[in-house]
């Protein structure tokens, strides 16, 4: 068991997965969309360590696999073999017909742009919508999911001023809008909104009053200056910024031997 792993041996992605895993609670329903390997690892880690009653919903496949030692999954999101572990499917009938129950659900979202109030963009980048400079993949189900789920996490594979921008060119999810704790309520959005934004450099949350993005912790070896230089807007910086807790030896052991034995999170 690797009890003596120092922070240098950890990849930022492993730190991200362990941070997210600790924030997930048993019995929650965790919805994981396409192309999110860090999130996949996080929910499986939480499931194995403290969430035997979690429901994992991967691309419509609902599963409880806490009794599986490892969980080989296809790398390709549309690969039908993911159904191997299913107990049922959320995609029989209308995938979105029971949104009234989604307060129990937790969701994770990426984005080509994210603004200081946690609004995100999967539509594209560029001033003219008809001829975008970068055309994104489209919103998938994120507008509806972010509207209704109890809470969600913004998880980014990289931290750069091109992604974390002052203003999204287009918004495909409404996080905290223009700011303010009542922003979502005023629009009638029932879900709890984004809780954290997690990147390879740091964890950010949202100020309770103005819902502006605030530095929560920086990963080991990352400086405040680096975070600020690579963020395209002024973050709220509290007087004390702790270092993100690294995985415990037990967490790391489970992560590396059962969740991610191929080492995907160390090669990103």
């Amino acid at each position: 068991m690797p009890s003596d792993v120092s922070a240098q041996d950890l990849s930022p992605q492993e730190i991200m997965a362990a941070f997210l895993a600790r924030d997930l609670k048993d019995t929650e329903h965790l919805m994981v969309g396409v192309a999110m390997p860090i999130v996949e690892a996080a929910v499986r880690l939480a499931h194995l360590l403290h969430g035997p009653n979690m429901e994992l919903i991967f691309f419509g496949t609902r599963m409880n696999v806490a009794d599986r030692h490892t969980l080989p999954l296809p790398a390709f999101a549309w690969d039908n073999r993911v159904v191997r572990w299913a107990e049922s499917f959320s995609d029989t009938g209308h995938r979105f017909e029971d949104v009234k129950h989604w307060h129990k659900r937790v969701f994770f979202i990426g984005g080509v742009q994210v603004d200081p109030h946690g609004n995100t963009n999967l539509i594209g980048v560029g001033p003219d919508y008809a001829t975008l400079r970068f055309r994104g993949p489209g919103s998938v189900g994120t507008p509806t999911l972010s509207t209704h789920v109890g809470r969600y996490y913004i998880v980014l594979n990289s931290h750069s001023p091109r992604i974390l921008v002052e203003r999204c060119d287009y918004m495909s999810t409404y996080g905290w809008g223009g700011g303010g704790a009542d922003a979502r309520k005023k629009l009638g959005l029932p879900g709890g909104g984004p809780k954290y934004c997690v990147t390879p450099l740091c964890v950010m949350d949202f100020d309770e009053e103005d819902k502006h993005m605030r530095l929560h912790s920086v990963h080991p070896g990352v400086t405040l200056e680096e975070v600020q230089a690579r963020t395209g807007f002024a973050l709220t910086i509290p007087s004390q910024v702790p270092t993100t807790l690294v995985p415990t030896p037990e967490e790391l052991h489970v992560l590396r031997t059962r969740v991610d034995p191929e080492g995907r999170l160390r090669r990103m």
Partner: protein, 291 residues
């Protein structure tokens, strides 16, 4: 008395029911034999309701004028399908920006003959700005802010399923794709390609398993979802999809040779689905039976 009419047609006749400029919805598993036939016929100016790499192929082949899609990812670590991305960035296709709940609301509105259905997902976002067909309104009961989603009405819906009898009584293995029945209910006509045509008695043995009753037309195409999967029959041909994705990626960067070769080999040279399968080869097809 005349006998009951068979709904069986071949893929060539199926594609001949589609005309330039029509709206075509494509379900999941992906009815690729029919998609290939659309490309083979060189149909133009279609409005396509689809996702992913089959959408990308139709765009790359020049069949598409307008896209109704909630997700055009490439898979295999490619965040955006290359032909979709290039065509959208150059303004060569129009995108009807939506998401899953908005799309199903529009299809449901068409099926129910309603001018719109309300939906909450997308309130507060840019969706109604970039898609002016979506109207923000105050609901007349509680005054809440919602989106009015107009009908999305396919002229033709194309689906893939396990089996049907000759009368269009379709049965899936494991049920239809999540959006298939929305597309079927909304469309003027639905063509279902199947792995196998079974006896009417087989359907009657378990009528509760019938997922689509009386589809307008049935096309028998074993391996018809290739290179995608068909539940209960074969898994996805990831090597083939990756080859396509590489070719489409190169074409989007200005080198279309591999993509032209792909379309020539798999769409233009084979005259029928059986010819396509000969191009793929029996060894590759049989490999897809190993889980």
């Amino acid at each position: 008395m005349e006998s009951r009419t068979s709904h069986i047609i071949d893929e060539v006749e199926a594609a001949s029911r589609i005309e330039d400029g029509m709206t075509v919805a494509i379900g999941s598993p992906t009815p690729m034999a029919l998609v290939h036939q659309i490309i083979r016929r060189g149909l133009k100016d279609l409005t396509v309701v689809d996702v992913g790499l089959s959408l990308d192929m139709l765009i790359a082949a020049g069949c598409v004028r307008k896209v109704v899609s909630y997700y055009a990812g490439g898979g295999f670590g490619v965040p955006v399908a290359p032909a979709f991305r290039r065509a959208a960035e150059r303004g060569e296709i129009e995108v009807w920006e939506c998401e899953e709940g908005i799309l199903t609301s529009g299809l449901q509105a068409a099926a129910q003959g309603l001018p719109f259905l309300p939906w909450r997902g997308g309130v507060g976002t840019s969706l109604p700005e970039v898609n002016p067909d979506l109207k923000v309104f105050a609901d007349p009961i509680r005054g809440e802010t919602l989106l009015a989603v107009p009908p999305i009405k396919p002229d033709v819906t194309l689906l893939h399923a396990a089996v049907s009898d000759v009368y269009g009584n379709v049965q899936h293995v494991g049920g239809p794709g999540w959006i298939d029945l929305f597309m079927q209910r909304a469309a003027d006509q639905t063509i279902v390609q199947v792995e196998k045509v079974v006896a009417n008695e087989d359907v009657r043995k378990d009528p509760w398993a019938t997922t689509i009753a009386g589809a307008d037309a049935i096309v028998r195409v074993p391996y018809g979802a290739h290179p995608f999967y068909s539940r209960g029959y074969y898994v996805q041909d990831n090597a083939h999809l990756k080859d396509y994705l590489d070719a489409s990626t190169a074409a989007a960067k200005g080198d279309p040779a591999a993509l032209h070769a792909y379309f020539a080999r798999y769409c233009r040279e084979p005259a029928t689905h059986a010819d396509y399968l000969e191009q793929i080869g029996i060894r590759r097809l049989l490999e897809l039976h190993e889980y």
